[in-house]
């Protein structure tokens, strides 16, 4: 220690300016120790590892443009008469919120661009989170030690939906007002306290005059604040855990192979921010989003057909649209199941995937850390569950847009609704079965490839007339890649009667776990991967095949 400080003292006054600044900061913040651990941090290169960055950057873009928009937006439901330059609105009564949105679009130079960037970035943000989540899910990247980070990511997705919805509501246009009216109906459907919640949220009867002013801080401060906190925690954990990697030559559970943060990753990630921003800016230059000037100001007695929320709420919209109109009235009270069931189902379907890591680790009893990603085919049950979930999600997206499906494909809206009602239950089951079969088929193909080599497509005729296809042995990397995965044994309860003849108590949860575990690792759900003995037997011998 003393020698370093001595040498530093000797160089004092001569060190370059940048170093002096760094020294100053280090004396107060300890940046050198921080940099030692992180400056050459290794990040594996794979396109699917950059999906999270799409979300991070679009979130930053949303904050930047959002701050700009707050400078011009008036979150007020006070009624005014429009006298601005947009002719089809002149003389129309509207709220100040709507008027200021028109002003941003038609009078603030670049305001329209900022609005469109804000909204497009929000759609990309949610789409990015969805895609990122699916990548993490299907590769099993949520396994220990990353379950909590999965939960953070899931909450970010959920809060992103909420923030998006509140933002969509702020301009107080005809579509967003219709969405809020739906929210009122949702509140009212809550048993016992529904009317109270509705009155308290809207400050009286719908629509009242308070709501926009109340949604505004939720949209610009509360939700983004929570999201920012979660986002920072999410990133810290990514750094702390070090990134997962795909299986391959030289990649183990104990290392991480890739490029250092400084300089390659910093340049790539930093550059990627500008790429994302550039694409969204260009998108906003060429495509309109949420043209509130044609949609018109909100009036509770007006509506437009094709009243839908943004895509990420489409799934909830679908649930509400296809639900039968159940309503039970008894003893002077009404239970509005037709609305209440879908809105309870909506978070439940989402949480089914949010809590999945904990369910899987309980079923499999796997306590090890995992840093090598699964190939989806090697976890057939998980992959099948994921595909089933996506199927349910997309069936409901179809349900949420049933009117546009009807007009654009010349179908009956009633038949589509019935199709969605059935497909919501049947689709995931079919998708589960099909995906599992496909995964097992791919596992079988992997096994064949390992044992018999790659099919070359070259047909050879043997002297005795038999035709065979020439197989080429795999390279060492591929042999390794196709055999590196684990195939654990399913969880066993153990004998019901121990050696002393005493009956063991077996909890129902244990039975369930054992059953589910068989579903993951049991005989029919896994193709035993080739063993070394099998391989040697086939390759050392005659080389037939």
């Amino acid at each position: 220690m003393s020698t370093t400080s001595d040498s530093a003292a000797q160089r004092r006054g001569k060190a370059p300016a940048g170093e002096r600044v760094a020294d100053w900061a280090d004396g107060r913040l300890g940046i050198y120790s921080l940099a030692k651990a992180n400056m050459r941090k290794i990040f594996p290169d794979h396109w699917s590892f950059m999906l999270g960055e799409v979300c991070l950057y679009s979130f930053i873009i949303i904050i930047l443009t959002g701050v700009y928009l707050t400078l011009f937006f008036h979150p007020s439901m006070g009624e005014v008469t429009y006298e601005g330059p947009y002719v089809p609105m002149q003389g129309v009564r509207m709220s100040e919120a709507f008027q200021s949105t028109l002003d941003i679009s038609f009078e603030v130079r670049g305001g329209l661009l900022m609005r469109q960037i804000h909204h497009w970035a929000a759609l990309v943000f949610l789409a990015g989170m969805f895609t990122h989540m699916m990548r993490v899910f299907f590769t099993g990247a949520f396994r220990k030690p990353r379950e909590i980070n999965w939960l953070f990511g899931f909450l970010l997705f959920f809060l992103g939906m909420m923030t998006g919805f509140t933002g969509y509501s702020l301009p107080d246009d005809l579509l967003s007002g219709t969405g809020l009216r739906f929210i009122e109906g949702v509140f009212l459907s809550i048993p016992v306290v529904g009317t109270y919640i509705s009155m308290f949220v809207f400050g009286g009867e719908f629509p009242g005059t308070d709501l926009i002013a109340r949604l505004y801080p939720v949209h610009v401060l509360l939700l983004p604040g929570i999201m920012l906190g979660l986002l920072v925690a999410h990133l810290i954990l990514v750094f702390y855990h070090k990134h997962t990697q795909y299986p391959g030559a030289g990649k183990t559970e104990k290392n991480v192979v890739g490029m250092p943060l400084l300089p390659v990753y910093m340049a790539k990630a930093g550059g990627f921010f500008f790429l994302v921003f550039g694409v969204i800016a260009a998108l906003s230059a060429i495509a309109t989003i949420n043209p509130i000037w044609t949609i018109g100001p909100y009036r509770p007695d007006q509506v437009s057909t094709g009243a839908q929320p943004d895509w990420y709420m489409g799934f909830a919209e679908g649930l509400v649209r296809v639900m039968p109109g159940w309503e039970i009235t008894a003893w002077g009270h009404t239970l509005v199941l037709g609305v209440f069931i879908p809105i309870v189902l909506f978070p439940m379907v989402l949480f089914a995937i949010g809590l999945y890591p904990f369910i899987e680790s309980w079923i499999t009893g796997d306590k090890r850390e995992h840093h090598i990603l699964d190939r989806p085919r090697n976890a057939p049950t998980r992959t099948a569950f994921g595909v089933a979930w996506i199927t349910a999600y997309f069936v409901m997206l179809v349900g949420g847009g049933n009117d546009l499906w009807a007009t654009h494909f010349h179908l009956s809206i009633n038949s589509i609704t019935w199709f969605v009602r059935i497909a919501f239950f049947a689709g995931p089951v079919l998708a589960f079965i099909a995906t599992k079969r496909i995964c097992l088929g791919l596992q079988r193909r992997d096994k064949d490839k390992v044992l018999h080599g790659r099919e070359t497509g070259i047909i050879k005729r043997l002297p005795h007339g038999e035709f065979i296809e020439v197989h080429e042995p795999l390279a060492q990397e591929q042999l390794h890649m196709l055999t590196q995965h684990d195939q654990p044994e399913p969880y066993e309860i153990g004998p019901e009667v121990d050696e002393n003849g005493v009956k063991q108590k077996i909890k129902p949860s244990q039975r369930l776990r054992s059953k589910l575990s068989k579903g993951y690792y049991g005989g029919d759900n896994v193709i035993p991967k080739p063993t070394r003995e099998e391989y040697r037997e086939i390759t050392s011998g005659h080389g037939h095949h």
């Binding site: 009564r93 009155m199 183990t252 192979v257 250092p260 390659v264 340049a267 260009a282 109109g325 309503e327």
Partner: protein
Amino acid sequence: MSSHEISEAEDKLPEERGAASVVRPADDPFADPGLPPHEHRKQDIDERAARRSERTVALLFTVSMLATIAFIAAYVALPVDKYIYVFPIGHISALNFALGVTLGIALFTIGAGAVHWARTLMSDVEIADERHPIEASPEVKSKVLEEFRTGAKESGFGRRKLARNTLFGALALVPLAGVVLLRDLGPLPGTKLRHTKWAKGKRLMNYNTMQPLRPEDIAVGSLTFAMPEGMSEEQHDFQTEIAKAALMLVRLQPENIKDKRELDWSHEGIVAFSKICTHVGCPINLYEQQTHHVLCPCHQSTFDLSDGGRVIFGPAGHALPQLRIRANDQGYLEAMGDFSEPVGPAYWERG
């Protein structure tokens, strides 16, 4: 490169896991061959190619600078209300298009330059970094637990039960102050949702003209919207009141009305139904004059206006409320009272 030391056999079968012997490919056909050797890019061995890459990167950054200048120029030069026709986009705002395109180029080329730089000029040698288990070692764990026990003991948290329990009590109660403060967010519901502006003797005012309606104005097959007399857009509570009072009028041939009460409450076949859907309150007025069905554009609840507003499809749970109307002495349509049941979505107290 440390990469070659790490051919730690991850390919081991589960039962072999933990045995820390390095398996050589000769023994194990599936052994990890380790990281492949680094291959040079053209730019690594050919300085001319590298210089070409550098020029590309510099060109991209220069384009960005030019685009930013163009952005500022467009901001200054283009009026905010100028429209241009751009094929195939349409008649669009010149300013929005110019700003968006120049900003997009300015940003994209920075990114493209940086990424191209990283991909072609920075080292692309893959490096392996070691991982360390997240869990603490048993020694650290026992030390922490020991320290926690000491701290907990010194606090007397377990021993001083009276202090502890009252602390829990105080902490449990104090948030109630915050909950109580929320009371004034809104009024209590009371019977507000049961009443609308409609009342006995209020005439039906045509939305389009704000004139009172006469029976002869309403033809079979037509659709008319009405609000109660005395309401106007300028009123402070207009939005809240119209959210409940909105009314639609259609005329059916009396013999087509299947529901007896509906017929009783109509006037010469003119029936007045609430325009607010009983599902979640969208204005429901997609009226099909041949089928007498009315469809909600939000969630496709369908009601039959010739049969008491009965639900025939979709998620709505009860029929559309009907307003009882008649013609008064001057020949204008008027309400014979408020709706007999709450309009709009159902709720717990509705009954």
